[in-house]
Symmetry: D4
Amino acid sequence: MKPRVLIIMGSDTDLPVMEEAAKVLRRFDIPCIMTVASAHRTPERTLKLIKNAEKSRIQVIIAGAGMAAHLPGVVASHTIIPVIGVPLDASPLGGMDALLSMVQMPPGIPVATVAVGKAGAKNAGLLAAQIMAGNDPALARKILDYRKEMTTEVEEKAAKIERKN
Amino acid sequence: MKPRVLIIMGSDTDLPVMEEAAKVLRRFDIPCIMTVASAHRTPERTLKLIKNAEKSRIQVIIAGAGMAAHLPGVVASHTIIPVIGVPLDASPLGGMDALLSMVQMPPGIPVATVAVGKAGAKNAGLLAAQIMAGNDPALARKILDYRKEMTTEVEEKAAKIERKN
Amino acid sequence: MKPRVLIIMGSDTDLPVMEEAAKVLRRFDIPCIMTVASAHRTPERTLKLIKNAEKSRIQVIIAGAGMAAHLPGVVASHTIIPVIGVPLDASPLGGMDALLSMVQMPPGIPVATVAVGKAGAKNAGLLAAQIMAGNDPALARKILDYRKEMTTEVEEKAAKIERKN
Amino acid sequence: MKPRVLIIMGSDTDLPVMEEAAKVLRRFDIPCIMTVASAHRTPERTLKLIKNAEKSRIQVIIAGAGMAAHLPGVVASHTIIPVIGVPLDASPLGGMDALLSMVQMPPGIPVATVAVGKAGAKNAGLLAAQIMAGNDPALARKILDYRKEMTTEVEEKAAKIERKN
Amino acid sequence: MKPRVLIIMGSDTDLPVMEEAAKVLRRFDIPCIMTVASAHRTPERTLKLIKNAEKSRIQVIIAGAGMAAHLPGVVASHTIIPVIGVPLDASPLGGMDALLSMVQMPPGIPVATVAVGKAGAKNAGLLAAQIMAGNDPALARKILDYRKEMTTEVEEKAAKIERKN
Amino acid sequence: MKPRVLIIMGSDTDLPVMEEAAKVLRRFDIPCIMTVASAHRTPERTLKLIKNAEKSRIQVIIAGAGMAAHLPGVVASHTIIPVIGVPLDASPLGGMDALLSMVQMPPGIPVATVAVGKAGAKNAGLLAAQIMAGNDPALARKILDYRKEMTTEVEEKAAKIERKN
Amino acid sequence: MKPRVLIIMGSDTDLPVMEEAAKVLRRFDIPCIMTVASAHRTPERTLKLIKNAEKSRIQVIIAGAGMAAHLPGVVASHTIIPVIGVPLDASPLGGMDALLSMVQMPPGIPVATVAVGKAGAKNAGLLAAQIMAGNDPALARKILDYRKEMTTEVEEKAAKIERKN
Amino acid sequence: MKPRVLIIMGSDTDLPVMEEAAKVLRRFDIPCIMTVASAHRTPERTLKLIKNAEKSRIQVIIAGAGMAAHLPGVVASHTIIPVIGVPLDASPLGGMDALLSMVQMPPGIPVATVAVGKAGAKNAGLLAAQIMAGNDPALARKILDYRKEMTTEVEEKAAKIERKN
């Protein structure tokens, strides 16, 4: 099946975190590709990935990186496919460096930034799904179901804790 | 013409900043509505706006707020329309409070966060346009033209500075 | 016995921290209920809990959450029962995200914010007790006794350390 | 009429900010006294104010201070009357110093901390009112009316902005 | 021998850190007492310790505390004996809370603040010694010797590393 | 009269802030010298000033600097005269850079750090006086009088505000 | 004369700050070119500038940018000419965003980062000169003279302040 | 072979981090010396090292330190050899203290600052190599080869992850 989302990470060590995005997409039966590219160490490769994404009609790009995390911004500057940035906690500064390097994109080239780390990676998957659901009623229904399951899950956990009181 | 984007701000004093989002959208001939709603002071009104947005098939919601800026998160928790959050600099903490209140959304409900203040508001408009361009080739062309104009503008400014050297 | 305090947490994983609030309340024989609700994943459940709290004449609500911690603010926007917010350390940003998401509530809807983590949860229990003690002289006496015990405890520890000198 | 709330500020230059708390209280016909006391420069005076507050059955104490803002914590350590802390922006560090000096109170002695500056001072007044409303149904009604007025105010502002669209 | 320095810590769990101050003082044969007192939980005890310190002609007071670390400021407000503050890392905020609660003392009552944690505790002992050395040439000589030893120690470590090159 | 305190600042533009230290010292009739020296631009001059200070039996050195504020640390590394550091707000980072560059001195060489800016400069003067008062009962009395005046001043301001209530 | 240093800034509004770098270079008779290029809005132009710099044997590149300041990192990823990054204060976050976006470059591609704003721009010019002085004894002498002038300047300012004492 | 780079660290415990710089240099066959010197505990030794470096025609100095990390600034103030500063994470403040103590050098004396910790140490080695490559075409070729290897390495890792998809 043709992939609809491209997930790029700055380093292969980011895989355990970025997997969270892929898991969410798989759950919604959204085909995606995951790969590695560094804005700084492999700028040409990054460009080629973007060109391929445009040719194969990728609908959303998710890019995760740590430290001075330029990857999503660099990707966004070469395409108008929406880019979601996931800041990673990869230095002693607790991910604040990656967060500011993504969210503070100057006027002209936006990056849709989510939370630092695993929570952010998961939300990146969800945001990508929500963006594509605008023209995909079946996907929209799946996301609504997912939300209901979250509700049920919270209610079950609540019930357990209430019983213990 | 039917609006495609809803811009909500937490207070009418946020208008000069949030106007930047509307300007970008107008430039791309994307009809939008701008209004005020507070996640905290008018929770019911916020809910009604979301229900109306869903009925009138709004495609993207942009929400700007300052301080403990819950507006985009609260909106996002009631709809699967993609929500873009614009953190505003409305306290002595320089907008860091609004930024963290938006970008650090816990897993399950994403907010696409952009930069603090005017730069962010402008990018929110651009991001909304890019999201809608996925199914609107005419809009995609306009955004590509806009990017070319940015290039030309930078080159003209560069030429002026180079002459002065 | 009818509960007087409602303790809500954003996730069941917050229980070991929020337990500190319940422990303090139990020590003062203040009945309380503990449950889970997420401002974002279960907004309706959150509303229902608040309505029930008002009906059953809950006197104080304690709400703990991490990341973009909207729970106490959302609760506070739907009731005038005093709401105490406990910011939790649930992301690589060390709880600063949760702290600012609570304490920086915009004008109109206050959240009484305490320290990040266990120390805050314990103080939330004490603050709830102090609020209720205004009309409950027996409770006031218990809190004063508790303070004396703290004094004694510090003095005993001091004595031990002084002996070692 | 006997005052029910004591407002203390660390310096007379804090008056324009702390006035916001008094304004809210006056609006609800809650008598209050405002005065100056420094935890550091006038520790004895601070103690005397607390003793007097206890004798005259003050129900809530609001304390505002800047920098290493110990005033609310010192007050709270000498009484079990609930203490609300308002961090003031009085140094080049933007109020972060005062915020952390209040909200991070160690376990045992809570301070109910609100936002930095005027927004916080206003919310301190509202929180004090909400605490007292638990046993004062007339006051509770006034607060509920106030909330409705906030709603109306936001709606009017929204209408203005919507017309301009 | 009559103690010349009083070391107070906010909690007995601070002992392993504050020990560093005592070790330095012992090395210079400066008698000191170590004890526990909390600015908030035992304000009276804190006052009594200060009065005793004045009576027994203590020359420097070292006070260590974490979180909203008021202990050194409260001590300093009741005496003109120089007070050295050691901020402790006792919350998820990494000691930044304790640091700002000490160093940002408002005009009128200074606290001589040193680094967060063990490095600061050690330097507190050295600073106390330097303050007393002004009138104690024998102590001055010991401190100068200590500095020379530090130099030798660094040189030995340097030699080891240089050999490995 | 022989100066007892040396006030060094990193730049002549720091004079309006560092004057606060000199004012306090003059009020206590403590002779002091004020001068400029940069740890980085004039390292030799800095060394010479320290040697002179030791020869002329200066008792305390106050050093103020902004940005990467090494001046007090560099001074402290060349003498055992107690060094008080005043961090100045001289960059867009609000003085946090200067604060951390002073207070976080590594083990071995302490700098007694006070608050950022004017409040800190004033407290540096007071701390210097308190250090010297240990062997100067007349000075001790002056400082105690100063504290009483502060008390009176606060009480007068309090009275004014109370009358306005 | 052939330029030896290329100064790039992200926006023409950065000119008043980046001019400081050019002024220093002119003072040392080092020919330089100044121009504008945005890593995000004009990625191709940025690449072309780098290729030209390599062809014309530019020895050092200085790049200034604000917000998520990727310019120096992007430049550095395409050349092995040393790149100096000047973080600019161009958002409500005080330049902390630009600083972390430059200095936290991940392993493989270094950016030599200097201080935020004008001080940094000036130091970027000096650092460029120092780098080139390694093979240019005449330039080395000019830099040494410049340092002596700085010393004299500080001494003159010191003399003025000492006279006022 | 005559060393071309001097690596100084503030403490022998910094060796595992600073080794990263030496490894990079060795890989490019650039001879270097590694040693320990503390700006504060061994100022004279630091000066002597600089004088020796100048005599032996060292081309770049790399200095790593933690906390109030003055070492690179102090070195830079005594020589015009380019100084690269590596901030180390050596306190509870996560390296932010060392970073600001280096990068915020005031105008006149630049320090080329890189990232906190190991990533920074490695980049310091690379930056030193790039600075020397300006006059050493063989070295330039080695750095270009290194970059190609980085590209290959990323591509191999990408291939592995893509296969797993």
